[in-house]
């Protein structure tokens, strides 16, 4: 570096009034006092969670909130997952562990024997949900995720199916929009011919 590249900046000189610092202090105290004596503000600042949750304008938009995962069930009550490993492939946190096996049902090839999600490792990005070809894994609006040990925060298949039972009324399962194996041509309904009825 050359000398001429260096720009020397002088500190601005404070006036006598500024050096007192009183105007600035009073300015800050004014804001504090405003909040202290405003009844409306005082009531809104403190909220008695969990008895009192956010309502009205500040309420969570549940439809797209990314909370705890669930594993959806198909109309027959079986786990909808086909154990394709797409979610664990897409997962940037490597928190999904699947063990696949031959399914006991004749209309399906594969199903998850084990399906574990480490909810502590998860970053709730929702990539698993996007990757799933049969919309079996979804994130729910349930954000109250607590546990006392690390082990209980690893959700297994049963627990994830239970989350589905708990949240299906709040957020019903979407129909598989992209890959529907019953559909002719294996394409989405926009692409394939509409003369075959979709199985739901």
């Amino acid at each position: 570096m050359r000398d001429e590249d260096v720009i020397v900046l002088e500190e601005p000189q404070l006036s006598a009034a500024e050096r007192l610092y009183l105007p600035q202090i009073l300015d800050g105290v004014k804001t504090t006092l405003r909040h202290t004596f405003s009844v409306k503000n005082r009531k809104q600042v403190v909220r008695q969670y969990p008895e009192d949750t956010r309502q009205g304008r500040g309420e969570l938009r549940l439809a797209n909130y990314r909370g705890v995962h669930r594993l959806n069930k198909d109309p027959d009550g079986r786990v909808a997952c086909v154990a394709c490993f797409m979610c664990s492939t897409a997962c940037p946190a490597h928190c999904i562990h699947i063990e696949a096996g031959e399914s006991p049902w004749p209309d399906r090839e594969k199903y998850p024997v084990k399906f574990d999600i480490d909810e502590l490792r998860c970053i709730y990005c929702g990539m698993c949900e996007e990757a799933c070809p049969v919309d079996a894994i979804e994130l729910t609006p349930n954000y109250e995720l607590v546990g006392l040990t690390r082990a209980e925060m690893i959700f297994d298949k049963e627990k994830l199916l239970q989350v589905y039972e708990e949240t299906k009324d709040v957020k019903p399962r979407k129909n598989p929009p992209v890959t529907d194996y019953g559909l002719t041509g294996g394409q989405s309904k926009d692409v394939a011919q509409p003369n075959v009825e979709r199985k739901v």
């Binding site: 086909v82 154990a83 394709c84 490993f85 797409m86 492939t89 696949a100 096996g101 031959e102 090839e109 594969k110 070809p133 049969v134 890959t179 194996y181 002719t184 041509g185 294996g186 394409q187 692409v191 394939a192 011919q193 003369n195 075959v196």
Partner: protein
């Protein structure tokens, strides 16, 4: 060497090969299903069609012929001009791909071939996103065609590679195409399942997910696997393989092209010959005999202890120290161990280890051989012993000398995947006063051993094997050594008085300087994706 022009580019190719093969060897990715360089040509998939310049029937001028020719069936002739990069060829590929996908179930998410499937790759490159098929898809059943293999007929593209493989390579002809036209499917004869010593190859041969290995079925998706180049230790030919593994361990073994040994195929023995690596009863700590039996010993103290004890034994009677070099060891390991022991006991006798032989050599119609000798490195051990000279002898001599009590101290290396000791051998070796045993599993020698050292499987080591024809081939490490163990090479490296990390390449340089044979390592040509 004929020169042909493909897409305006002049290519020199081997004489007598098809244009498709010439194009593939030149690095072009021409779609094809039925063509395989190791099998007869049927030209049935119609994907590799090309345009060719021919003399016009009237004017005799060279012009592009109006119809397309299968490039797999057209031999490359000097001066011929063909093209793949044209509208007609592209239209053909697009239509043929659409035709293949008419009845394909598109169940890639649950298909084990996804990720290495030619149909998937070609559809991505040449196919269309939408199907115009309005009728119901034809659903063919899943068939259990053999003890190791499943056939998903609705994924099949009827390339008939598997049929030709069973006809030509294994010579057992179990598979056939039954029915014709759109109802055609692959099947076995009633009561004759696909069951031969090479049958696993049909799984890799299948360009789609129709033939799948029961062992690997649903285990892993292929993109989660890492791959290492290796040599199969199951027989003395040293078949080239890929080991596919991840942090959970090995998941499968695939053939690796090797023009001098196994070409595109491997035997089922090699394919399934990795189960012992994950056996629960592997030795996992070195133990030394104290007053109350074998007690665990730290690895760091072993080299010094062994050197001292072997030197003591050599001081009493100079040629009473024996080293048994197992043919399961790599050349580097055998070299280091022999050197290390000769260093402290210069008159030590080097013995060739036990060579397991099962049945007879089996030769298949096109020359694939499954050897009866079930160890990878007998020739390598013999070469090393011969070079190091001094006292050398074979396994039978070792048993004889041991039972007569002439051997006071012995370092016996095993490493065989199966039980290898006969009761006579155990009785004979039991006579040795100071016995060091290095093996994968607990054996009958454990109760006679003064020191027991765990060995690791070939997947956890690196080195080279010399096959039964004297071909030197290298293999790489796939897994880390089992917890508590140390790679054999690393231990011998330390036993030989070295400090630091054992690297097979370094030792190889040293060996090559002493013995030029070891400089000549054969590395097979690596084939690009879709090359066969």
């Amino acid at each position: 060497m004929p020169k042909i022009i493909i897409d305006g580019q002049e290519i020199e190719c081997r004489p007598g090969i098809p244009v498709l093969q010439a194009a593939l060897e030149a690095g072009m990715d021409i779609p094809h299903y039925c063509y395989h360089p190791g099998l007869k040509i049927v030209a049935s998939c119609r994907l590799c069609l090309m345009e060719m310049k021919m003399p016009h029937p009237k004017t005799k001028e060279m012009a592009w012929a109006p119809k397309l020719f299968p490039s797999c069936q057209t031999p490359a002739k000097d001066g011929m001009e063909v093209r793949f990069d044209s509208d007609a060829v592209r239209a053909n590929v697009r239509h043929v791909m659409e035709y293949y996908l008419l009845n394909h179930p598109l169940d890639c998410p649950v298909c084990d071939k996804a990720g290495e499937c030619y149909l998937q790759d070609y559809t991505e490159d040449h196919g269309s996103a939408a199907s115009r098929m309005v009728d119901e898809k034809q659903k063919n059943p899943k068939k259990d065609i053999g003890p190791q293999t499943l056939l998903y007929s609705d994924r099949c593209v009827l390339c008939s590679r598997c049929v030709r493989f069973c006809d030509e390579i294994s010579g057992t002809s179990e598979l056939r195409v039954i029915n014709r036209g759109s109802r055609g499917e692959i099947d076995v004869f009633p009561g004759r399942p696909l069951d031969n010593a090479l049958q696993g190859n049909v799984v890799e041969l299948c360009p789609v997910g129709a033939l799948l290995d029961k062992e690997f079925l649903f285990r892993q998706r292929v993109w989660t696997l890492k791959t290492t180049k290796s040599i199969s230790p199951v027989d003395s030919r040293g078949q080239s393989i890929y080991i596919d593994y991840n942090e959970e361990g090995i998941h499968r073994i695939r053939p690796r092209f090797n023009e001098k040994v196994n070409e595109w195929w491997i035997s089922d023995e090699a394919r399934f010959g990795w189960k012992h690596v994950h056996r629960d009863d592997r030795l996992n700590q070195p133990r030394v005999r104290g007053s109350d039996g074998l007690v665990p010993q730290r690895w760091e103290e072993l080299p010094e202890f062994l050197r001292k004890r072997l030197a003591d034994a050599a001081k009493q009677v100079s040629d009473s120290v024996a080293v048994v070099l197992s043919p399961m060891m790599s050349c580097e390991e055998a070299w280091l161990l022999a050197k290390a022991v000769r260093d402290v006991a210069p008159q030590a006798v080097l013995f060739h280890g036990f060579v397991p032989v099962v049945g007879e050599d089996r030769t298949f119609p096109k020359g694939f051989v499954v050897k009866a000798e079930k160890c990878p490195n007998r020739r390598g051990i013999e070469t090393i012993c011969e070079h190091l000279g001094g006292n050398t002898a074979n396994w039978g001599d070792f048993l004889g000398m041991a039972s007569s009590g002439k051997i006071k101290a012995a370092y016996v290396v095993g490493g065989y995947p199966n039980e290898w000791l006969t009761s006579e051998a155990v009785a004979a070796i039991g006579q040795v006063e100071f016995l060091v045993v290095q093996d994968l599993f607990p054996t009958a020698l454990t109760e006679h051993a003064a020191v027991e050292i765990p060995s690791v499987s070939w997947t956890e080591r690196e080195g080279m094997f010399m096959n039964c024809d004297g071909l030197l081939q290298e293999f790489e490490r796939a897994l880390n050594p089992l917890e508590g163990t140390k790679a054999d090479g690393q231990f011998f490296f330390e036993l030989a008085g070295n400090v630091g990390l054992f690297r097979a390449k370094k030792v190889r340089e040293e060996m090559a300087a002493a013995l030029p044979v070891f400089a000549d390592v054969f590395i097979p040509q690596e084939l690009p994706e879709h090359a066969h």
